[in-house]
């Protein structure tokens, strides 16, 4: 066990799997020069054939990952930022998500597409995307969105070993978080299993990616109001651990979904809809979504920052549904 950052966890997971399995290789734009610290020492250790800088052509190299996977390789694609997945939607949706199905199981596509959600730092609308919900609507893609170094490492390693395509969304606001992470080279976190990050009895806060630390802070703050919040991190968005969420909501009777992405058709919406469909009998209050509203993200910092879920908004939502007094709101 060592205390490492989220970025170091990515680095370790990749290094261990590259060392373990010669069919694993990496490609992406400018990965050799190790801009963010996730490929430290890789060229020296694994060589330029396995650590490949690509042309700026996301559809081309992400599709090529699909082709390489079909012939037995296990590519890890570093797509840099999630905003750069749009140019590759063709290959992700029509080839990677569907080839196994449309050819009746003849194809196998073990590959990982990593991308960072790089929001909150004045990168403006074209660089601030958090688009996992789009991909959740497309069958055939597993999706992980870890919120701490331990989950990051265990899930990424599991993703690299998984025989299905996995999209890995890495929340830039979590990059510098540190945690104890096992050194065991076979430390894996199973894809599809959520985690209770904090136990509680009055309200369940289901939080995604960068929403998790915010939710944990809110839970702490709610202690002062004598509100006991349980915080659940699904960690994997597809398949979603609906059972864990429902179990918790059946216990608390209340739910808040915290999601740094846009509101409409979000993962938060999906979780809310699942709860009302399957745990209605247990529900004692509306399910509240605390997300980024459906506006784009502006460059100017002081109008950008308040758009993301905040501790205050979560605390208010919790107070409201638990029946505690809430600060007055203007509409």
């Amino acid at each position: 066990m060592a205390k490492i950052t989220f970025l170091e966890a990515i680095q370790q997971a990749q290094a261990e799997e590259l060392a373990r399995d010669p069919s694993v290789f990496m490609m992406g734009e400018d990965i050799r020069c190790n801009v963010f610290g996730t490929t430290t020492g890789f060229v020296e250790r694994f060589g330029e054939e396995r650590i490949r800088d690509t042309p700026i052509s996301e559809n081309g190299f992400i599709g090529a990952a699909g082709g390489a996977a079909m012939v037995g390789m296990r590519p890890i694609v570093d797509a840099t930022l999630s905003s750069f997945l749009y140019p590759a939607m063709d290959q992700i949706c029509s080839i990677i998500a569907k080839s196994r199905y449309i050819y009746g199981g003849q194809a196998r596509l073990p590959l990982v597409i990593r991308s960072c959600m790089f929001y909150g730092n004045s990168n403006a609308a074209q660089h601030s995307d958090r688009p996992y919900a789009m991909f959740m609507n497309m069958p055939g893609l597993k999706i992980i969105a870890p919120s701490d170094p331990r989950d990051m490492k265990g899930l990424l390693k599991a993703a690299i070993r998984d025989d299905d395509p996995v999209l890995c969304f890495e929340d830039g606001t979590c990059w510098m978080a540190k945690a104890e992470v096992p050194d065991d080279p076979d430390f894996l976190i199973p894809i599809g299993k959520g985690d209770v990050k904090r136990e509680g009895t009055d309200v369940t806060i289901i939080a995604i990616a960068g929403g998790v630390p915010t939710a944990l802070k809110a839970a702490k703050r709610l202690e002062a109001d004598d509100i006991s919040a349980e915080v659940i991190d699904p960690r994997t968005l597809v398949p979603l651990d609906r059972d864990l969420i429902l179990r918790s909501v059946r216990k608390t009777g209340r739910a808040i979904c915290v999601d740094p992405a846009h509101l409409t058709c979000s993962a938060a919406s999906e979780i809310s809809a699942t709860i009302v469909e399957q745990a209605f009998d247990a529900l004692r209050a509306p399910v509240i979504r605390v997300t980024t509203p459906d506006t784009h993200l502006p460059f100017s910092p002081h109008i950008e920052k308040p758009l993301y879920p905040t501790v205050e908004r979560i605390v208010d939502a919790a107070r409201r549904i638990v029946g505690a007094p809430v600060a007055p709101q203007t509409v």
Partner: protein, 338 residues
Amino acid sequence: MHDAQSSIGDNDRRLEKYRRMQRIRQFETKAEAIHAAGEIPGALHTYAGMEASGVGACMALRPDDYMVGTHRSHGHPIAKGAMLRPLMAELLGKSTGICRGKGGSMHLSDFSVGSLGETSIVGSGGPVAAGAALGAKLQGLDRVALCFFGDGASSEGAIHEGMNLAAVWKLPAIFVCENNRFGMSTPTSDAVAGEHVADRAHGYGIPGVIVDGQDVDAVEQAVREAVDRARAGKGPTLIETKTYRYADHAVNMGRDLTPRGPEHDEWVGRDPIRLYRARLIEEGVGDDALSAIDEAVRQEVADALQYARDSAYPDFEEAFDHVFVDRLPIPADVRAHA
């Protein structure tokens, strides 16, 4: 008929080319008839007129080489040596189909003969082929990956990106543009800038070759040179086969939307199978031998159809297979009414 191509002797090789073209033609003639009779659901895009392009190209490949195709998906796998039964069963949506009834006419991909998808999203095969070539290179195998795409597809970014990637990484890939003069109702010249698609090669610093797509030997020769180059680590080649499709974009859709010009008759006059048959006879191959092939293929197609008809449709559960490696759970309300 799906032996290792490389072990075929010279005479056999010629007969095999003839046989594969016949298999495509007869398979599709039958398919078209039963499609008209309502036995095949969905659209049917035939390859008639283009057989020399697919067969010539695939005969230059080894069985373990890879190939990626298009929505016009019947010709490529047969050219690469696929058996007809699972293909015909697929057209009928049967569980014995090559895609277990999931793909249908636009997706007759047979992975056992190296086909890595006949993808119906125009242009989308480009990156896949580059990736398969990359995989072979990383594995230290001397396999190549061949990508068939249409003239219309050449306008897609995916084809550009696939070619640039293959060229800059010197991947063992061959890009074969089957220029049949139209993308649906659009003449190539209305959609594709430049005189020849092969001219694009210059921009990637790779060879660009134009070949008569009605001459199976010429196509084979051009692709063979590209394959040799690819196996030698010298990178990809772009080959344009000038060819022609006889039928409408998709058959049995009502009116033919293809705005054919006066050159239509000339193209039909240069039928690749008839041309090749004449050449073989000129070269001394007996008419009998060829007619025997025709007949054997007729039987093979009839057998395939019988097989397809005798096969069962997939069970409803199978709709939930192959989304992932593990079968998906079936929602109770869906199952209740399936």
